[in-house]
Symmetry: C2
Subunit: 405 residues, 2 copies
């Protein structure tokens, strides 16, 4: 029987055994109510680590240094700051990233090679190293510190986004925790997604990387708030083996269980990010089924969830199926118009490519709820995918056009 995946109430990055975290206010972040802006997360013992990074050609030196550290295979901690992205600042970017990592390592009693760095915030401004030097020593790390760490990576997020799940693997109970900061972009260039995952399961390194990529592809990579990809996006997954299981290798029943646990946690965090999009009035879920291929389904779901016309219709609770069909048509996915069916929160709106009479008031009422789900059946094959986004509101525009440079 397959192992059950259970959500841990109040779960966070310090829910798995052997992880500690903490944060302080260094004075970097000038916006937002929650002033924590410098955080530390570490494993008490050595880790296997996997990572996924932005594909933007302009990268923060914080990303570049972390990529080097990941390749060095000694990582067991991360220092993260919000408020400043450490991007487009010339040679100081890499210098400051190195010094920040050294300060964190010294404070934690680690080698610099064991510490990654993630930054999020405004582009083109240097990290205030004097403040960081002064503040690093104030951070107390504990196994209760997950929530404080989650708050320290927030920029304009309205609340911290955390999760943990537990599962049995090789006769041992293991836990996987995570926190994420979302694509909330009130202030310039804070579009970054930072996601930190921890697990006390022991996992073989190459499988860990493969599992993280697979989970991200059906969760974090299927979220669109406004289509902008940041210079700083980073996802890190630390596995310290404190659960005591035999290391999980690929293509085993244990690997399947671990993948499901990771998928569950990542999908939860992805939906939280979408729900927390700036000025978002509701979560939008696009499920595409029966596509000719998985790739087609992904293209279709992502194109529809990113359409400004679809997003404004959802904001207005308007069951405007024509916009969905038009976005589908330009997505690049194979489409046979006569085979399309479309459901809004399970109410059939389009059948065999033609509108069906539906009780408009009922559908509008459904669309006033906190979650709107479009399910598209293409009836061409077995490909399926789900994408998440949010409505586009006047508030989004107001927030993002505020004069702040």
């Amino acid at each position: 029987m397959a192992s059950e995946i259970r959500f841990v109430e109040g779960g966070t990055v310090t829910s798995p055994k052997g992880f500690r975290a903490g944060a302080t206010f260094a004075g970097i972040k000038t916006h937002g109510e929650d002033k924590l802006d410098l955080g530390l997360l570490l494993s008490e013992s050595p880790c296997t680590v996997a990572g996924i990074f932005t594909t933007n050609k302009i990268k923060s030196p914080s990303v570049v240094l972390t990529q080097e550290r990941l390749a060095g295979a000694k990582l067991r901690a991360v220092v993260a700051n919000s408020g400043i992205a450490n991007t487009s600042v010339g040679e100081y970017g890499m210098k400051d990233a190195h010094e920040t990592v050294e300060l964190a390592a010294r404070h934690l009693g680690l080698e610099p090679e064991e510490v990654a760095i993630c930054s999020t915030g405004v582009i083109g401004i240097e990290l205030p190293m004097a403040l960081i030097r002064e503040s690093m020593g104030k951070i107390g790390v504990s196994d209760e510190g997950g929530n404080v760490f989650a708050r320290a990576i927030m920029t304009t997020d309205s609340h911290p986004k955390e999760v943990a799940v537990s599962f049995e693997v090789g006769g041992k109970m293991a836990t996987l925790g995570g926190c994420i900061k979302g694509a909330g972009m009130i202030h310039p260039n804070m579009a970054t997604m930072l996601c930190f995952l921890t697990t006390d399961a022991a996992v073989e390194r190459s499988f860990l990387q493969k599992a993280l990529k697979e989970a991200a592809d059906i969760s974090l990579n299927m979220v669109s708030i406004d289509g902008d990809t940041s210079t700083n996006d980073t996802v890190l997954l630390y596995a310290n083996g404190a659960a005591g299981n035999d290391p999980i290798w690929g293509d085993t029943p244990e690997a399947e269980t671990f993948q499901r646990a990771l998928d569950t946690a990542c999908i939860h965090l992805a939906k939280e990010v979408a729900r927390g999009g700036e000025g978002a009035s509701r979560l939008l879920q696009i499920q595409v089924e029966g596509a000719k291929s998985t790739e087609d389904a992904r293209k279709a779901a992502r194109t529809i969830v990113s359409s400004n016309l679809v997003k404004t219709a959802v904001h207005g609770s308007d069951p405007n199926w024509g916009r969905v069909v038009a976005a589908l048509g330009r997505s690049g996915a194979e489409v046979d118009e006569k085979k399309i069916a479309l459901y809004i929160n399970d109410v059939c709106i389009v059948w065999e490519g033609l509108p069906v009479p539906f009780h408009k008031d009922a559908v509008v009422a459904i669309m006033r709820g906190p979650e709107v789900s479009f399910r598209l059946e293409l009836n061409l094959g077995d490909g399926s995918a789900t994408a998440w986004g949010c409505s586009l509101s006047e508030e989004y525009v107001t927030i993002n056009s505020a004069y702040t440079t």
Copy 2:
């Protein structure tokens, strides 16, 4: 010496010799102040015609029928309606397209094979054939009818968008005219771009098609209002030879002149469409220079002009260069951060990838004008491209989330 291209004051599709147009109100369009909704445009003599159509996989039968007619090579007229897209209406779509064309042909004394059809408006509603049957006969076509025709294709456009240019070719004066309806999308699925071009120059068919494609690639295909591509987009170019020149073949000095005239008219119309985007407060122009290739320059310009974050910054007159650089980085174009220069309306903001001190108030003042231009120099090669779009305003959201289905 290269021939000069001159704008014709008050120019339109009936400015070239031998073209007539007219329109009426059939009762199809229920929105907008300008009630004309059914128009006819024709050449008095046979034509060579080129066309470009939507790449959306969901196509209006009006598009499909016009593509067939274009292949038949007998086209010399078009009937166009606004208010209803004739899309996603099942078998009636093609039936109604055929009947509308037949009604137009009979009224004009032409064969149905000589008439194209274009529709724009709401998806999923059938054309009201009873109204069209009754109204077609009321349309009087004249060589003064270009403006009336231009108004009949408008949906939520605030004003008709027209142009004409004159040029000398083979010792004869020729004229090229055009009108366009833009990506104004107050009401559902009116995202269509319809563009009609006419010229009295004689042009060889395969060169005409190639010239139209080339012109569209640097003009109409470089406009982004909100990224949504319609089910009905159509561009048609009619050349009737009434100027009396010898037919223009490719790779000749005359071809070069004709291409310049066509480019000039199409760029003018493209900018008009961008300027007239829904809720647009200002025109946004993105010039990319020094890219590794033309393809790279096009990718970069289009990605930046489509970025919601860039568009809201322009709405707020915020010289937020970080958003431009981040969009550039994810565009897929080759980038060397240390070589980037960025100008806002000719004021240098970024040099060698780093922000330069600029007089913020002056730049903000410039950005309050009707046109904002970002020029990016990548310093990697000879590729250049320009894209046009508009700011993203609260009004756009209000307009597009209004409950209208």
